[in-house]
């Protein structure tokens, strides 16, 4: 009847921590076991992915252990019925939830049917999802200024401004006329007068244009000549299939490296994109390394 014995009767050995007390050992072991069971039970019922009868507070339903988040339901309701959740009726809420449960069930069935092995759209979506998950790791890291500056220094050509040019494209019937026109223009003669004298015509005269636009207007070969000329310079006669051309360059600003401060956001984007490409390559390499791939002899 030790369980009903007064405390004073058992206290000497119970209190004396230097002595072994089987009663105390049982009580402490029992207490520890109860605490352990409570913690394990809580963990078991609260953890995601385990069979549970309890719906975590952040979820609105669990379909075969797959949660449907409250935020997703709220977003769905807003998309379907408008911004104010107070105006959404219980019937609308139930319908939206039922639709989401139905979708989840179909997705789970699709997994069972291994739809990905036959449906190219599903395969593409899965590939994209895995690539995105790899890229997400690179996105959450904010590189320091020193890293970004070093990257900018190493890839400065990417951050060049687009050059601008203003050029007139003149065409003449023959090489002699074109040569005379060039000589007159270089002496400062009036352009309109020279065209009249030498029976030339102005094919195009553009105001300030970006290099890429000027290349389209002039064609590759004429543009390559124009971009090497400085403001006020006149080209030599240029023989082309449609006649002899002369280029008059009024203004030319070649591309220059934009300063770091101006290009900083693009440097950050490019830095991240390179990081994503590196991680994707590593991921593909890792997957290949751990995979068992057999390739037919004729396909090697």
């Amino acid at each position: 009847m030790s369980g009903t014995a007064p405390a004073s009767a058992r206290s000497p050995i119970w209190r004396n921590l230097g002595a072994i007390s089987s009663g105390r050992s049982f009580v402490l072991a029992g207490g520890a076991a109860i605490i352990g069971l409570v913690l394990a039970g809580a963990g078991l019922f609260a953890a995601r992915g385990t069979s549970s009868l309890v719906i975590p507070p952040e979820d609105v339903a669990i379909v075969n252990q797959q949660p449907i988040a409250r935020t997703d339901l709220l977003a769905q309701l807003r998309a379907l019925y408008g911004e104010d959740p107070a105006e959404i009726t219980p019937q609308q809420r139930r319908k939206a939830l039922n639709d989401m449960i139905r979708e989840e069930l179909l997705v789970q069935r699709a997994k069972e049917l291994d739809v990905a092995s036959v449906d190219p759209d599903v395969r593409a979506a899965m590939v994209a999802a895995v690539e995105q998950s790899v890229a997400a790791d690179a996105m959450i890291r904010q590189p320091g200024q020193a890293e970004l500056r070093a990257y900018y220094q190493a890839h400065q050509e990417r951050y060049a401004s687009e050059g601008t040019i203003s050029v007139s494209n003149l065409a003449f019937g023959g090489a002699h006329a074109a040569l005379r026109a060039v000589q007159s223009l270089r002496k400062g003669a009036d352009l309109a007068q020279v065209l009249t004298q030498e029976h030339g015509r102005e094919i195009s005269s553009e105001g300030q244009a970006f290099y890429f636009a000027s290349r389209i207007h002039l064609g590759d070969s004429l543009f390559e000549v124009a971009r090497r000329l400085h403001a006020g310079e006149i080209s030599e006669p240029l023989v082309q299939p449609d006649g002899v051309h002369v280029l008059v360059v009024r203004q030319n600003h070649p591309p220059v490296a934009r300063p770091y401060a101006a290009a900083q956001d693009q440097v950050l984007n490019d830095f991240r994109n390179d990081e994503i490409a590196r991680l994707e390559a590593k991921s593909a390499e890792f997957l290949r390394k751990r995979a068992n791939i057999l390739i037919a002899k004729d396909a090697r």
């Binding site: 409250r70 935020t71 890229a135 890429f212």
Partner: protein
């Protein structure tokens, strides 16, 4: 006192007052358990509630804000800064200025951005549009019909934008810029005919004296039009718990609400 001396002293106390020690340990365990249960109950209430109606639950807001502050300092401050003022050099928005690029600053909208990100590698991310680069042959590859602009065109649009903010005169150049803005430039498509922006696609208001990139100097606006912009925000879904996302969203919402920002210690 050396560690050995300290542990000997503790053992002596345990031998002298075993009952007091047991009571102390039991009390500590009970307090920890009660604290954990209280936190769990608050967290449950927080994530179960409608995020846009949490203002009516000041107890939950008071519980969430300090935790949101800690979450913000860990996950968001590396880009937005500890004071959440952003970085105009990188186009990282100021979260304290009540000028919302996406949505109107509701807690649910902030939560969506934290979870899904902006132009993040996430299937649900917010990426309906980005600023075209009009000094490129194809300014906006998803819409090949959009034509590049000449340098003079871009300067005209800059004049127009300066004029609508009252920082430049209404001139022939600004009139040409207005025509480009409302016509072949296609600017109106995202920024609206009044340049007031569109929070549905994250197109900033261009008439409100708040500039995402730089400080609104003409050369900075020229660069934005010429070379394009496309800021990103990572998607934290799967990396942060739903409760953490909500706490941070509440904190960010409080930053832009003058009455609430005092309570979270933002000047």
């Amino acid at each position: 006192m050396t560690p050995e001396g300290w542990s000997e002293g503790l053992a002596r106390q345990v031998r002298r007052r075993p009952r007091a020690v047991l009571v102390f340990v039991a009390a500590a365990v009970a307090v920890s358990a009660a604290s954990a249960a209280w936190t769990m109950a608050r967290t449950t209430a927080l994530v179960s509630a409608d995020p846009d109606r949490l203002a009516g639950r000041p107890d939950l807001v008071a519980f969430a804000l300090p935790r949101g502050h800690r979450g913000f300092a860990t996950y968001c401050a590396p880009c937005h800064g500890r004071a959440a003022r952003g970085d105009p050099a990188l186009g990282i928005p100021d979260l304290t200025d009540q000028d919302w690029l996406y949505g109107s600053g509701k807690v649910s909208e902030i939560e969506t951005i934290i979870s899904d990100g902006v132009r993040a590698p996430d299937p649900k991310t917010w990426k309906l549009a980005r600023m075209p680069a009009y000094a490129r042959l194809v300014p906006y590859p998803p819409e090949p019909a959009l034509q590049p602009l000449a340098p003079g065109d871009i300067r005209d649009v800059v004049s127009f934008l300066m004029s609508i903010e009252g920082r430049g005169p209404v001139s022939e150049a600004s009139a040409r810029g207005r025509a480009i803005f409302a016509g072949r430039g296609g600017c109106y498509d995202c920024h609206g005919a009044d340049a007031g922006g569109d929070p549905g696609v994250g197109a900033p208001n261009l008439a409100d004296h708040t500039w995402l990139y730089g400080s609104g100097q003409p050369e900075e606006i020229f660069d934005s039009i010429a070379y394009g912009r496309a800021g990103v925000c990572p998607a934290w879904r799967g990396r942060l718990k739903p409760a953490q996302v909500r706490e941070i969203a509440l904190y960010v919402h409080a930053l832009s609400t003058p009455s609430a920002s005092a309570s979270v210690g933002v000047q």
